[in-house]
Amino acid sequence: MTLTDTPRTSSPARRVLGVDAGGTGTRAVVVEGDQVVDRIELGPLNILLHADSAARLAAVISETGVDGAGLGLAGVQSVGDAESVLAVLRTHTSVPIAVTDDSEVAVLGAFDGKSGGVVIAGTGSIACGRDDNGRVLRVGGHGFLLGDDGAGYWIGRECVRAALREADGSGPATSATAVVQQVFGDDVRDAVRRIHEFPTDRELLSCLVPIAAAAADAVADEVIEGIFTSAAAHLARLADTLRKHLGPIQVAMVGGVFRVATVRAAFVAATGAVPALGPPEIGAVRYAQLKLHEEMAVNDRS
């Protein structure tokens, strides 16, 4: 059973809301049949960090007057998490809602509900895949202290480390130094203090990615190229692991790190990755159609 041939037959005109909520921004769409009829931009929304998340989501669901909503929420890490969010939302609205994490909706968006996998590399990194039987697997995503190799924070951190090695005299001269200076000031050692003062401010490091990409475009730099290539290798390992478990699925790229040409090219060369067909918020609509249809099927039988 695939997603696209099931929900429309039972309810052709259903209005469905899809939400992709993340720490840096939240995008929502309203879909009627196959048409996107509304797009909504919300601010950053992380259920772990923002206490008013549930109320904000419930408000959007009521205001759009939809028949169902699919939510892909950053911070949801287990079925238990999803159920607690759902329980809170149910106190605000009676509209049927399906909740999962942001990576599963990214897969559904990238392959329009069909099987496939995505490697997501923004500030953090994670891979998520779905096979033809609907089996979902996540790999990576262990956070900036323990994993997230190849992601924006990781790349920024490697740039700072390269600059510090140059300052120490234990590494070669690199334009990573100029990149770090642009953000942290002339003495790259000041970066050490700033970064440890705000250990959870991950943007402090991931903001270096586009600057490093521009620097490497302007003047070839082996150190920065090496960081980008190694980032791509880490991300490709996530894709390989998905395929090892789910079979030879197609893989798509999601997230800002893939805007870096070197990373993208090396990743595509290693994995044969394809561009995503649609964005995660459309995937959230597909998730709702899939889950709410299943719910209805159960109701029909009972």
Partner: protein
């Protein structure tokens, strides 16, 4: 004369703070308190002032983690002087480790406790330094690094992104909880490093090949730091300081590569040398 004064030498480490109070050559008392790191602990200055006032020291030498540049050093010593009336001479924590390790003489010391750093001093001029960029950016081979490397490798083993090993079980047993929960705990307070150090201790006690490989990699990072200083300053003797060297796999490998010895004196005595120090020790204390 400085010699008759009560001199307090303080090693304000990332794991704990140790101090000795001396009058001339006589050890008057020993003190210990919690860790003080200017980068991590907002109350570090206050607790230091309390310690100095409690001992009535007139002259204080202090090695302070997180002191990064000359301006910060001046501000810090000025502030403590104002609040205690004592004469305060400060350096970063690695410098007093060096002064203690070679009793004020030239050498290289590699320090691997919660964090890691190597400093070398050829007998005149300034102290050279490698590493020590804190737990978010460096500290390769340190206790935190070892524990974090083990947790990461355990996650990769379970994910299938890395080789299968016994690490998931070792890490979960050490932390007393599942890997998913460990990931949450480590990130819930990034500056609380207790979770990670539990894993480091378990790794040190393990005979699993994957655990040994991480400990050997830690030793190799620490060896590279010593070699990097020898490359720029000449073939100075090497000493090893800090809890990581109490792990036999690490110290055996480190000694084999560097002929390292144990320090002659503990860092807090190096801090006393810094305070009463000859011109050499004062020179060495200058932050580069």
């Amino acid at each position: 004369m400085a010699a008759a004064k009560l001199v307090l030498g303080i090693d304000a480490g990332g794991g704990s703070t140790r101090a000795v109070l001396m009058r001339e050559e006589e050890l008057v008392s020993r003190h210990s308190t919690g860790p003080m790191n200017l980068l991590l602990h907002a109350d570090a200055s206050d607790r230091l002032v309390a310690l100095i006032n409690e001992t009535n020291a007139e002259l204080v030498g202090v090695g302070m983690p997180g002191l990064r540049n000359a301006l910060q050093l001046l501000k810090f010593t000025h502030d403590v002087k104002q609040r205690t009336g004592a004469t305060v001479i400060a350096a970063d924590d690695a410098t007093i480790g060096l002064l203690g390790a070679f009793a004020g003489g030239p050498g290289i010391v590699v320090i691997a406790g919660t964090g890691s750093v190597a400093v070398g001093w050829p007998g005149k001029g300034r102290v050279n330094r490698v590493g020590g960029h804190g737990f978010l950016l460096g500290d390769e081979g340190s206790g935190y690094w070892i524990g974090r490397a083990a947790i990461s490798a355990a996650l990769r083993s379970r994910d299938g992104t890395g080789p299968k090993s016994g690490l998931p079980e070792i890490v979960e047993r050490a932390a007393g909880t599942r890997l998913e929960e460990i990931v949450m705990r480590v990130h819930s307070d990034a500056t609380d490093r207790k979770q990670v150090s539990k894993v480091t201790r378990a790794l040190a006690a393990s005979t699993d090949p994957a655990a040994t490989a991480i400990l050997e990699e830690a030793a190799d990072h620490l060896i590279a730091m010593a070699k990097s200083l020898q490359a720029s300053m000449g073939d100075l003797p090497v000493a090893m300081v800090g809890g990581v060297f109490e792990i036999p796999i690490v110290s055996r490998r480190f000694i084999a590569a560097t002929d390292a010895t144990k320090p002659l004196e503990a860092p807090e005595f190096g801090a006393v040398r810094l305070a009463i120090g000859d011109r050499n020790a004062r020179d060495a204390a200058l932050v580069q």
